[in-house]
Symmetry: C4
Subunit: 263 residues, 4 copies
């Protein structure tokens, strides 16, 4: 179950959707967050779900916010560009079936907006620090390999990994079932305990902007990553704490108590 | 979610429902199982649910059976007796919300059959072997205390326990919400790791048959308990094994494997 | 899923809802419980959910009760006062998605009663014993800061915590999605293993009654806390035990048994 | 919940369904996979479910695929043969209630195609290496024992095991509720940590092809097993890793962090 609220009824010309949610290295989250800001794209819808963690986050000093995913749009300005829908947000689902439910709700929504092609962004954890992270990709459709192979993308990802967990994988896989085409771009990253990896995000951004025929000034990336990281880290920490608290609740000290059970 | 299949459309005269499902000491299961047999009551409906464990059980040497709960009926034969619906079965729900769902499905069904009074049977684990187990009870409605206080029932159960987990408690609690009256009878039992307790079941049976104006030959109880125990133990063991296997699945040896995660 | 039963059809004049459910220090539960009693507010509806723990509780010596949340109302008696709906109860949800489901059911219900402003009450665990606990608050809407800043409330809560787990947070966050305004008040409390904190509740009560233009004799608070604590502690203990028993079920001794698995 | 996509509308003559999904020894998966290939049976439908693991798998070097179950059909070519529907796939459900939901969806689908008899295939873990694995079977209906007892099947399975977990058991058990007949065939296998067992699969295939009046060249089995094993192992490993990662997420290092909880 997911609820979507639409702020603005938009008409786009066969838009492509770019998905960047929190994940390993937060590569997708950072890359899409940076594009949204640099392109001054406009938020037009948001989504929340009972499958997200059951807490709200404090923004600034006192503002309560639900965990959400956000849809932005950007209109093509010249030939060679396409209308874009960006999907980013605070979190992914907290349960296995929730991943499917939220992904289907997202696809239901963007299908009506005319989306037929989707690019999701994730990280490929290598266990090593990468000086020059490569961009890998996998696809639902051979045609996308042809379309994008001239960009610096390594499509031999199957040698490195065998699966993609969560939204980046499922949105692509489920999109195919609707006749959409999807590609999942993966930036090489260490995968060490949850650090935002701006280098991998930059590699993705370089490839992605070339693919989309967009120019973006990369000089602000480092600053923006620092800004974003603060908030991303907060939610990550909160999720871990929330899980801990749930775990604490479930491992009570009551163990020594006399147990009078009825059943 | 629970599916109920009805074999016979019955008309009963304001029947009372007696619920005895597996639980601590299997007191309810044994007591109701014995009554069903001794009274030659007739099975008229059965229930299964996706909230039960996901396995089937082998009866005799090769017969596959779903885990189920069963409804039997017995018609009053003389003054002072009442029509009875017995509910017994192989198991309770395996998830917290499943307990509510299955209990509501049971109540939806018997409400239409005219049930306005319910007795559920469970065990009160004392941590000690009980030579002369007492019968305790709690109620949704003061009136039932008056009605049944002349039988050997200790209504001061609140001093011994504070809550009732699972079907015996929830069916009673949820029945009240529908304007039904319910009593939960509890036989004192050690509560030591899952042993069927025929003494506690006998204590319940003595009280219950008196309450219902029924005479039942208790001489076959010991034999019947042995028969039933075999099957009950099997399902218990199976549930424990099933849980183990799930646990094994969830603690893979893969830990040392190189981890290339994408997200 | 939550079922709401309404005892009395009430008409209120743009009521404010005050939410105090069990939580850290039980501050909301105690504060709202005290107001309900002192204002002689009237119970008009109750809610239960399959998302609550699957047990019933014994009240007094033998009365079976489902776990529930309760709605009370109180009508303004003079200028400067408002009609109030109080929400309190035995427990919160036991599953992450249940928190969302129950909160949405509560909001569906009170939205129809004209509620446009909500105050939820929780505890801010500081890890230290607080002699003079402060009252913190966060809001869904800037306007509420202006409205309530003249009361002794510290709105710089973001420096102390980053999130609010469970009903106190989610009811506020989800209310905003419906165009309601919500504030979450937090009393400083040690957060040491689950003790009811009457001092923090008193701090909340002093601020809250001032905000609501209500006078309440605080002299009975200590006695009332003792009364309430008994029951609250019981449910907490029960939840911990229930969790333990579920855990026991899931870690069977069967480990040494020969394992003949079919799949 | 499960979504089924149909590629071809087929008309079959009272078909039998043969189910072989991953499980202990992957006996069913291998046996059915081999029959599908050797008989050149045709894929006509596929199923996925939110109850499967939340990841996609990479085929070949770059192709994204959802986890799925697949339906194939094969038409009888001479007397003594029957039309067959084969069900195989990448995985079973990842949650207990998911097993029921997916099995019911499968049965809803094939019931409309006229299926009245089902054979599911699984493994019977013996804890020992079996040189000449026997074929055991259990049934929902006595009649199937008579029908198939002339084939080398040991129906005294109840002496070896007491239950069947997952799809092989539940599809059979739930089929009975719809008036279908079902048999579960079990190949003896060691059950040692998840190895594909071609010998047990061969034993099943010998019996099954005789029962179905089908001739299949077994000389390619070994090669096919090697092919299939690669993919089956991959998914198994992935499931284990996915579970690990979920577990990691749930045991954060945050434990030493100062905990400022609000509730």
């Amino acid at each position: 179950m997911a609820k979507i609220k639409v702020f603005e009824n938009i008409k786009l010309n066969s838009p492509i959707m770019i998905v960047g949610l929190p994940g390993i290295g937060n590569i997708g989250r950072v890359a899409v967050g940076y594009l949204i800001k640099e392109l001054a794209s406009k938020k037009f819808a948001q989504l929340y779900s009972k499958n997200f963690f059951p807490f709200v986050v404090l923004h600034k000093s006192y503002e309560i916010r639900l965990l959400k995913n956000y849809f932005h749009y950007w209109k093509a300005r010249k030939d060679g560009q396409r209308d874009i829908i960006f999907l980013t947000g605070d979190c992914q689902s907290q349960s296995p079936d929730g991943h499917y439910e939220v992904a289907e709700a997202i696809l239901d929504f963007v299908e009506k907006l005319g989306v037929k092609e989707i690019i999701t962004i994730g990280g490929l954890a290598t266990g090593e620090m990468e000086k020059n992270p490569q961009v890998y990709a996998c696809v639902t459709d051979e045609e996308l390999v042809k379309k994008y192979k001239s960009y610096k993308i390594n499509f031999d990802v199957g040698k490195r990994v065998g699966y993609i967990v969560g939204a980046a994988g499922l949105i692509a896989g489920l999109a195919k079932e609707r006749g959409m085409k999807a590609m999942c771009m993966l930036g090489e990253t260490s995968g060490f305990p949850i650090v935002t990896d701006p280098k991998a995000a930059e590699a993705i951004l370089n490839t992605l902007t070339a693919m989309l025929g967009i120019k973006v000034d990369m000089s602000r990336l480092e600053d923006r990553v620092k800004e974003m990281e603060k908030f991303i880290k907060k939610i990550e920490t909160l999720q871990r704490r929330a899980v801990m608290e749930i775990a604490k609740e479930e491992q009570p000290e009551a163990k020594k108590e006399e147990l009078r059970y009825i059943g």
